[in-house]
């Protein structure tokens, strides 16, 4: 938890895009550790595979492909907005987090009584997820397959050079 929040703060505070990408790695790994602690082992592995292995590599590729030399020579900070806007943004963030924390503090979650459910034995969640995906959630599963194919075609189309 501390690792997750600390590296997310580094993403927010750093002025280097590549440092932000690398501390985002720490954030994703911390979130994956939180999943393991919550007993969601399949999701933790999926998080590492998709985010650390896919999204983060894509982001780093984006950073490298759009890096330009002129940033430093212009001598001004190109990553964050002007300080007035930055103060406004931090106010937005603080207000939003205060609202969220106030709401979470006011909420009274039901404590689950001991005999209400049979105890969930801490086994692997992979079998349950697989069975549920193939029975109750087969329609969203297929739709996400179609979405992935559309994204593949769209990305290939967008990233081809346009002939003028």
């Amino acid at each position: 938890m501390v690792l997750t929040l600390a590296s997310a703060l580094v993403v927010l505070l750093t002025k280097n895009v590549l440092y932000a990408a690398f501390s985002l790695l720490g954030t994703f790994l911390g979130v994956s550790a939180l999943y393991v602690l919550a007993g969601a082992d399949f999701l933790a592995v999926a998080q590492i595979l998709v985010y650390v292995g896919g999204v983060l590599v894509l982001l780093i590729f984006g950073v490298m492909l759009t890096n330009q030399q002129g940033n430093k020579s212009r001598g001004r900070n190109d990553i964050t907005t002007e300080s007035s806007n930055r103060v406004l943004g931090v106010f937005v963030m603080l207000g939003f987090s205060a609202t969220l924390l106030y709401t979470f503090g006011r909420a009274r979650f039901l404590t689950i009584q001991d005999n209400l459910f049979e105890a969930v034995e801490p086994t692997s969640t992979t079998q349950t997820i697989g069975v549920e995906l193939m029975t109750n959630y087969v329609l969203p599963f297929e739709v996400s397959g179609i979405l992935l194919m559309a994204v593949l075609i769209g990305a290939a189309y967008l990233s081809t050079k346009t002939k003028n």
């Binding site: 993403v11 927010l12 954030t27 919550a38 979470f104």
Partner: protein, 102 residues
Amino acid sequence: MDNSFLPYYLLTSALLFSIGLALVVVKRNIIVVLMGIELMLNAVNVNLVAFSKNDPSLQGQIFSLFVIVVAACEAVIALAIVLKVYEHFKTVNLDEINELKK
């Protein structure tokens, strides 16, 4: 079964979401804004997983799995668009990209 772990997860996800929102609002580089969006999606996933811990049917985890899939799709398409924008405008500064067609 105890719910004593729940406040820590809620705290973490609230702060992660706020940091992501601040990244989207404050930063001027498109790629850092995308990182903020990913952080917000991750915060939502943390909440889903935390609430589905005591649920034997694992609805929250399956929903979170679909959120991960859609987030990956969004990142791919957004980066393709960013590359096209960079090819067109020669910058990734959001303040300077203010025309649809040039």
